[in-house]
Every structure is written in structure tokens, then in C-alpha cells.
């Protein structure tokens, strides 16, 4: 089968980036949006074609569509660039290009009269290129390069409103936190490649052939476990797992379509994708690392869900919701095994990634439509919007139902698989996942009821329905959110390539539906019916509620660690040494040179007698040396 056209899937957005970035002054207004959208549209079409072509054949092996050696150091050490097509990368291609296309079209309406329209589309195209390159990477190093490119695109887009100090601070925070995590990623890559002698995924995902059990253990864990843990650290940073989650809520300073694309559907799932990509290594050699993965996922799910219940900024609620849902995906991967029914977690995780992309993007785009109409992010200033924005209301409701796991929407099916996987593994994880499901339903419907029901607020301008260019993509995503659950996902993607039957595990399903209904009912009681129960409950929880509202003071803890400990104890002395010791030494060298040259300068003093003196003294010395050296 010929897949050589797949190179265009990544190249077209890059060309759009280049054209928009370099030529936007020469092109007429607003064409940059069309150029970017057309490029991503063609990429989407090619992705569907690839998916159909790939999945219509029964084999699920990896196909190298394109490969080139970029840097060769010696015979064995080389860095390649290429395109690897296998089930998860093809699935990601479809997800990324579809959501990107929707976001691009939506952005043409949302960013219509903004300053920096062209810059926005060029950065967005750069992001699409980077993300697409990341998922089709044939080797760890290529993935790392595109990982960093994605980080840069995120930085540029979060800080898009660069004259807002909070946006600039948020973009720096995102970049620094993910960069710090990527340090672990890089060390992990180096460890893995030095142990196995290769970066290539084709080799790494067939771990039976690798022989490195002889590496000496370090602090009780084998080297490969450390390497995979460090790689997971990189993934955790990008996917905003605890404690590296602090950047994602602040990243909401960027434009809302950016939040929809990057911080909901695509970039933040890169960590999940990374672990999924290296999954055979994890299951074969580092089951301890998988336990850490599961623990982090579980903790983050619950943690973020609790915080989301107390927030008042619509985008921040959705951000914490994203963190919680990605926690689900990570948890599912962590409890998964390899092969057959044991690999249910793997399939569940990716299924949830797939459905989550649709409804989370829809939620964010809906939030964007609301913000666009009401000009505020604070839900306390919104109310009764269903009268003003009926279509947005319906679409948002579909997304809320999907995320809460209410059948027959997509979220129900994928959550069911995740919950079944955790049930098969450990009861504590199952309980945590259920609790998070209940909380998800609660905070989503809290958001829904406060915004769309309740009493009318005094809006400065009457909120209008969003224009069709914004509603159209939302409708497409709503269709996905509604029906994507019916796709037999396990037929396409499973941990070992053998089709896994996806079926509803009824005990789990009924429990989860019950939990979702409990959450929804609580939200109804608290927020729709205006009974004041919400304030009573908040008071009853007292300090727990306040700390949750302050995001459990994690940001403050970071400030204490960085400013109080690192800056004071480490940076200040080092800076003192640099200024006083090193600079003084350099200045001393310069001063010595200066002094020496001053002395040499005096040879040309212009004073006749000095010259004559040296002359005569020199002659005498020479005569002396002639007389006595000759002896």
C-alpha cells in the first residue's frame, strides 16, 4: 500500500505557517485564516484517507511511510526523521486534524476583528504541524524534537495577548514547567537509548528482542525502570498531572479556541500518547513504573475534580476538568497489562482520549461563544443564557451529558471501559474513578445550571447567538460527542494489535450511571433550584472548601520552594560568586594587563635622557657579558 502522500499531512500546516508568518503583510486581509484553514482541511482529508486505507487491511503493524536520516554521527548513532503509521498514530492523526479543522473554522469567526489575526493563524498552523509530526514520529528523538516544538507553539499562543502581563506570565509558567519536565524526558531518552542502542520505535516496541537486563540497579530500581519513570515525568508535565499541573489553569489566558485545541484535545494528551507508544516497554520491563503511572493518574483525577467544584471562572473549571479527564486516561494506562483482556486499560485510555477530544473541544468552543457574547469569564455574572443563546445551549448540554457519562453519548462508553479496567485491577482505583465520575457530573452540571438557568443578570449588551461560522464547527463536534461512542474502538486499537471486543460491562455501567445521576441531581438541587443548599454545603465543608477554592495552595507551595529555597539558598550565593569572585578575577586579569601595558608604554616616554640611559646601561651590560661569557 502506498502511503507516501502522508508526508503532506504534516507539511501542509507548516507551509501555512511559513506563508502566514512571512507573507501576511503582503497578502490581503484575512486571507491568512483561509490559507491556514484550507491547509488543515486538506490534511484532514488526507488523514481520513490514511485511516480508511490503514484500517481496511487486517494487519495492525507499523508502516513506515517515509524515512530519512537527518544526522549521522557514526555507524550506529543516527537521528532519523520519518512517518510511522500504526493504529494509535493514525487515530491521533484523525483526531488532531478533525479538531484542528473545527477550531480553525471557529477561529475565523472568534478572532475576526482582533489585532494579530495573521500571527494567530500562523502560530496555530505551527502548532498543528508540530503535533502532527509528534504523533507520526518514528523514533524517540524525533518525538522529542516535535515535543519541544509543540511546547513553543503553546508558549506563543498562550502569550498571544502579549501586552497583558498575566498572559505573559502564564506563557512563561507553561513553558518553564513543561521544560522542567522535559529534562526528565530527555534523561529518560538518553538512558533508554544507551541501554538499547537505538531510538527507533520499531525496535523499542518489540522488547523481546532487547537484552539489557544486565544493567546495574540504582537505588533499588533497575535502570530501565528509572528511564521509563523519567520519560513518564516528561509526559506528566505536558499532560498536566499532579504536581506539574500548575500551568494548565493559567494557560487559559490564551484565546479560547487555542484552549480548545491545545489544552483540551491535542497537546495535553501528548503525555498519554507517549506512554501508549512505549507501552510494550513499560509492561515488559517496568511494571513498577506503571504502578507509579496509575497512582499519579488516580490522584490527579480526584484532586482536579475536587478543585473544579469550587471555581468560578468558566475556563478554569474546564481546565481542571481536562486535568481530571486526562487523569482518567493515565490511570487506565497504568492499570493495564499487555495482550487480550488484560490490555483493556490501554484500549480504554485511547478510547477516552478519542471521545474526550470531541466533547472537551465542544465545551471550550461553547465557552468561547458564551464569553464572546457576555464579555466575561466569571460564571457569577452569567445566568439564564438559554433564552439568549438557544443553539449554544443545546450543544453545550450535549457536551455536558457526554462528559458526565450519560448514555447514549460518547463519554458513557469510553468511561465505562476505563472504569472496567480499574475494576479489574484494584478496588481503590475503582472507587477513586467512580468518585471522580460523580464529581465530574456535579461540577459540569453546576456550570451548566449557573450559566444557562438561574435568574437573568444585568448584561451590558444583550447577548446574541454566535454566528454560524462559530456554531458550525460546534455542531460537527456535537455529532462526534453524541455518536463517537458507537465506534467499535477495540477493533481498531488494542495493546497487541489483536482486535478486542468492546462491550458494556453492565455492573460497572449501572454503577457509573447512578453516580452520574447523583452528581447531576446534587447540582440541580444546589444550583437550579436556588435553594441556598450550595452555600450551606460550602460552609459545612469549611476550610476544606476554601483550600479547594485556592487550588490547595499548590502554586503557593511552588513559590515557596522556588523563591524561598532555591533562589535564596542556591541562586543568590551562586550569583554572588559570579559577580564577586568570577567577575573580580576577570577584572583582575584586565587590570593586570592594563598595568603591564602602562609600564611597557613608558618605554616611549618621549624623554631623551631616559632613552640615553637605557642605551648606555645596555651597552655596558653587553660589554660585560661579552668579556665574561667568553671566559
Amino acid at each position: 500500500m502506498d502511503f507516501s502522500y502522508t508526508i503532506w499531512i504534516a507539511i501542509l500546516p507548516f507551509l501555512a505557517f511559513a506563508i502566514n508568518g512571512l507573507g501576511s503583510e503582503k497578502l490581503p486581509q484575512k486571507t491568512s485564516g483561509w490559507i491556514a484553514t484550507v491547509a488543515i482541511g486538506i490534511s484532514a482529508f488526507l488523514s481520513y484517507k490514511t485511516a480508511i486505507q490503514y484500517f481496511s487491511s487486517p494487519s495492525r503493524g507499523g508502516i513506515i511511510a517515509f524515512k530519512t536520516t537527518w544526522l549521522r554521527f557514526n555507524g550506529t548513532l543516527h537521528i532519523d526523521l520519518g512517518i510511522l503509521l500504526d493504529p494509535i498514530s493514525v487515530m491521533m492523526l484523525v483526531v488532531i486534524t478533525t479538531v484542528s479543522l473545527m477550531v480553525f473554522v471557529y477561529s475565523m469567526g472568534y478572532m475576526k476583528n482582533e489585532r494579530g489575526y495573521d500571527r494567530y493563524f500562523s502560530f496555530l498552523s505551527l502548532f498543528s504541524f508540530s503535533m502532527l509530526g509528534l504523533v507520526v514520529a518514528t523514533n524517540l528523538f524525533q518525538m522529542y524534537m516535535f515535543w519541544e516544538l509543540v511546547g513553543i507553539s503553546s508558549y506563543l499562543l498562550i502569550g498571544f495577548y502579549y501586552d497583558k502581563p498575566s498572559a505573559v506570565a502564564a506563557s512563561k509558567k507553561a513553558f518553564i514547567v513543561t521544560r522542567f519536565a522535559d529534562l526528565g524526558f530527555l534523561i529518560g531518552i538518553l538512558l533508554v537509548s544507551s541501554l538499547t542502542g537505538t531510538f527507533d520505535f520499531g525496535v523499542l516496541t518489540r522488547p523481546e528482542g532487547l537484552g539489557f537486563a544486565s544493567a546495574a540497579p540504582f537505588l533499588g530500581l533497575s535502570t530501565i525502570t528509572w528511564a521509563l519513570l523519567l520519560i513518564f515525568m516528561g509526559g506528566a508535565g505536558k499532560s498536566a498531572m499532579f504536581p506539574l499541573h500548575i500551568w494548565l489553569p493559567d494557560a487559559m489566558e490564551g484565546p479560547t479556541p487555542v484552549s480548545a485545541l491545545i489544552h483540551a484535545a491535542t497537546m495535553v494528551v501528548a503525555g498519554v500518547f507517549l506512554v501508549a507508544r512505549l507501552f510494550p516497554l513499560y509492561t515488559a520491563y517496568a511494571p513498577g513504573a506503571l504502578e507509579v503511572v496509575a497512582f499519579v493518574g488516580a490522584f490527579t483525577t480526584l484532586f482536579a475534580a475536587v478543585i473544579a467544584c469550587t471555581q468560578y471562572d468558566i475556563k478554569r473549571i474546564l481546565a481542571f476538568s481536562t486535568i481530571s479527564q486526562i487523569g482518567y486516561m493515565i490511570l487506565a494506562l497504568g492499570v493495564s497489562g499487555h495482550g487480550g483482556e488484560a490490555g483493556l486499560g490501554y484500549m480504554a485510555s485511547l478510547f477516552h482520549l478519542f471521545t474526550h477530544a470531541f466533547f472537551k473541544a465542544l465545551l471550550f468552543l461553547g465557552a468561547g461563544a458564551i464569553i464572546h457574547a457576555v464579555h466575561t469569564n466569571d460564571i457569577r455574572e452569567m445566568g439564564n443564557l438559554r433564552k439568549h443563546q438557544p443553539i449554544t445551549h443545546v450543544l453545550f448540554l450535549i457536551a455536558c451529558l457526554a462528559i458526565s457519562g450519560i448514555p447514549p453519548f460518547a463519554g458513557f462508553f469510553s468511561k465505562d471501559e476505563v472504569l472496567s479496567a480499574t475494576a479489574a485491577s484494584h478496588p481503590v482505583y475503582f472507587a477513586i474513578a467512580m468518585g471522580a465520575a460523580a464529581l465530574t457530573a456535579f461540577y459540569m452540571f453546576r456550570l451548566y445550571f449557573i450559566v444557562f438557568w438561574g435568574e437573568e443578570r444585568a448584561y451590558p449588551n444583550a447577548p446574541k447567538e454566535a454566528p454560524f461560522i462559530m456554531l458550525g464547527p460546534m455542531m460537527v463536534l456535537a455529532v462526534g460527542s453524541a455518536f463517537a461512542g458507537f465506534i467499535p474502538f477495540g477493533h481498531f486499537i488494542s495493546s497487541d494489535g489483536v482486535p478486542l471486543a468492546t462491550h458494556i460491562h453492565w455492573p460497572v455501567a449501572i454503577t457509573s450511571m447512578a453516580m452520574a445521576l447523583v452528581g447531576t441531581a446534587t447540582a440541580w438541587r444546589f444550583y437550579k433550584s436556588q435553594s441556598g443548599s450550595s452555600e450551606k454545603a460550602a460552609k459545612a465543608l469549611g476550610s476544606f472548601h476554601t483550600s479547594a477554592a485556592n487550588k490547595f495552595y499548590i502554586d503557593e507551595a511552588y513559590i515557596i520552594i522556588t523563591k524561598g529555597v532555591i533562589f535564596k539558598m542556591v541562586s543568590k550565593p551562586l550569583a554572588w560568586i559570579d559577580r564577586n569572585v568570577i567577575d573580580t578575577f576577570m577584572d583582575l586579569l584586565a587590570a593586570i594587563t592594563h598595568w603591564a601595558s602602562r609600564q611597557v608604554r613608558e618605554f616611549q616616554s618621549g624623554q631623551l635622557q631616559k632613552y640615553a640611559f637605557i642605551f648606555i646601561a645596555g651597552v655596558i651590560i653587553i660589554v660585560l657579558s661579552f668579556i665574561y661569557a667568553a671566559r
Partner: protein
């Protein structure tokens, strides 16, 4: 000790003393006069060894011409009555060290060197001999340096006039 020796030693002492006074004196004009006496002493030595022509030239050119020239320039440029500054202490010390060192070295070399006199028949430095040698072009003839000297003197004359001429534009003068 013969009379020749006595005369020589006294003339030598006079020369050395007066030259020393010339270099340490604090008044310019006195230094010039001391120089004159030192040069006269040298002329006396020439008379003593029988080089009369040389002695005459010494008196005429050196004592008469150069010292007079020096005195002229002193009158043109200095404040005669003023005492000149004494040199700095460290300069005196350094120079004394160098001077004494050099003198000691030379004296040491001279006293330890075995000079070998050529035993030849002494030649009379009469005007006829001097004239023949001066304008002779055979062995021991000095016609070439003679001609060159005359060109040098011409160049010096021209140079002195050119340097000391007052410029038409007259910058500082």
C-alpha cells in the same frame, strides 16, 4: 718622575676637574666657561705630544668656535642669572651607578690589557706630512674623508639655516 710626567698629570687633573665642574655647575654660563678650560687643557696635551696642527685646530674650532656658539645660544635662550634646577635624587643615583660602573669596567679592562706597541720609527707630524697624507690617495691617504667632510659641513650649514629660520607664517614665534 720627569717633568713631562708632572706636566701631563697636572694637565690631566685640570681637564678632569673642569669637566666635572662643567657638568655639575648650577649656572649655565659658568658651565660653558669650564668647558672652555677643559678644551684648552686638551689642546695643551696635543701640544705636548707634538701634534701642533691638531692643537691649533682644537683651539680655533672647538674652543673658539663651538664654545662661542654655545655662549651665543645661552644668551639667546636662557635666563643667565638664574640658578638651574638640581636634578632629582634618584636620577643622580642611577646615573652615578651607571657612570661609575662603566668607568670601573673600562678601567679594569684597560689595566688588564697588554697593549703591544708597534716598534716603528716615529713620524714627525709636520705640515708637509699632514698635507701629503690629507690629500693623498695612496695607502694612508685621507682624500676621501676630506671630501666627504666638506660635503657634510655644507649640509650642516644648510641644515642649520633651514632649521633656525623664522617661518613666514610664524606659528608661535
Amino acid at each position: 718622575m720627569g717633568t713631562g710626567a708632572i706636566i701631563f698629570y697636572s694637565i690631566a687633573t685640570i681637564m678632569v676637574v673642569f669637566s666635572f665642574l662643567a657638568v655639575v655647575s648650577q649656572r649655565v654660563l659658568r658651565a660653558a666657561v669650564y668647558l672652555l678650560f677643559a678644551l684648552a687643557g686638551a689642546a695643551a696635551v696635543y701640544f705636548m705630544v707634538g701634534y701642533f696642527f691638531l692643537a691649533a685646530v682644537q683651539l680655533i674650532v672647538y674652543a673658539g668656535g663651538i664654545v662661542v656658539l654655545i655662549i651665543f645660544s645661552i644668551l639667546l635662550t636662557s635666563h643667565i642669572g638664574e640658578k638651574m634646577q638640581k636634578p632629582d635624587g634618584w636620577k643622580v643615583i642611577l646615573t652615578s651607578v651607571v657612570g661609575l660602573g662603566g668607568a670601573a669596567l673600562s678601567v679594569f679592562v684597560i689595566t688588564n690589557h697588554a697593549f703591544m706597541p708597534q716598534h716603528q720609527k716615529g713620524i714627525e707630524a709636520s705640515m708637509a706630512t699632514i698635507g701629503e697624507k690629507m690629500l693623498g690617495y695612496g695607502a694612508g691617504g685621507y682624500v676621501l674623508p676630506f671630501e666627504v667632510i666638506s660635503i657634510l659641513l655644507l649640509a650642516a650649514m644648510v641644515g642649520a639655516i633651514a632649521v633656525a629660520k623664522r617661518n613666514k607664517t610664524n606659528d608661535n614665534g
